[in-house]
Subunit: 148 residues, 2 copies
DNA sequence: TTAAATGTAATTATATTGGTTACAAGCACT
DNA sequence: AGTGCTTGTAACCAATATAATTACATTTAA
């Protein structure tokens, strides 16, 4: 059985932003980006639209190319994570909805575990918040240099 | 659009273990547990089977009732999380599979982000590892006392 | 006005979740 | 042994999400 995982929209979002930076002297159209991600331009446009709504990129209808709306060092992976909306606020974990209120465990289990789950989710998000697109770009440059 | 979230199997697993403890002087059959969780006994049996395989509970075919296989304080939420298999090892996040190797970003993006995602996942799991079923039981007892 | 790009909706294939039914196999008790 | 209850599983279903794809309206530059 294959298991749940957080949508690759997130990884694609990071890919898009990173590539825009790499190609900052060129034009990053949805077709161009799609070729690197290896998907359909419409998928790119949908994700780019989310990044735009979050204020991470600038895109304009009719005008080819997306550009970063902030400095590299001011876009964290958490920004991307939230922008592409892979997880609903405070709902990384889902809790069964209708436990039996006649049972002491049933009527309190939600209140007992939700704070823990929330703490775990925050810990995860904190890690993402400490990494920027700049870090990712640097990582890629490094790897390129090593293998050349 | 509704978003992804980690299967409630996890929360149900915690519920089951907690209830077994609450009902330690009684018989925790799948039917009994199902009533508190408010689901089907077969669902309980499936999850209980996973908890059993992970060495967290004792259950025997033909014999009614499940019992904890360890002390309360020695079962962490991380144990449950892993037992019920909601997330594949190191794959809480999914990364798009076929970026273009002709592009510097495409051929390195996976290596660049996977360590970050892994760190984030570990941070999440660490929080779960620091909370035991005993803590959950205490939490419920507290809430019950307050509201009585 | 024309060509090209973005924005967006509709559709599809695939997969997972959670629930449900059904039944084989195991154990206790008479 | 035979009955009754329980666990262990498999098969199936409905609902939902993802990602890809197609199509087209809107917008811009030239």
């Amino acid at each position: 059985m294959k298991k749940m995982s957080i949508s690759s929209r997130f990884a694609v979002g990071v890919h898009i932003l990173t590539l825009i930076e790499f190609n900052k002297d060129g034009v990053s159209s949805s077709e161009y980006l799609a070729e690197s991600v290896n998907t359909n331009p419409a998928v790119i446009r949908k994700i780019t639209g989310m990044l735009k709504k979050a204020g991470l990129v600038e895109v304009h209808p009719g005008i080819a190319g997306a550009r970063l709306a902030r400095k590299l060092s001011e876009i964290t992976l958490l920004d991307v994570y939230k922008a592409v909306d892979v997880v609903q606020e405070n709902e990384l974990f889902s809790v069964h909805g209708n436990p039996n209120p006649k049972c002491p465990v049933g009527r309190n289990i939600q209140d007992a575990i939700i704070p823990v789950l929330s703490t775990a989710q925050i810990a995860l998000e904190k890690v993402l918040g400490n990494v920027t697109i700049e870090d990712i770009v640097k990582g890629i440059v490094e790897k390129e240099n090593i293998s050349s």
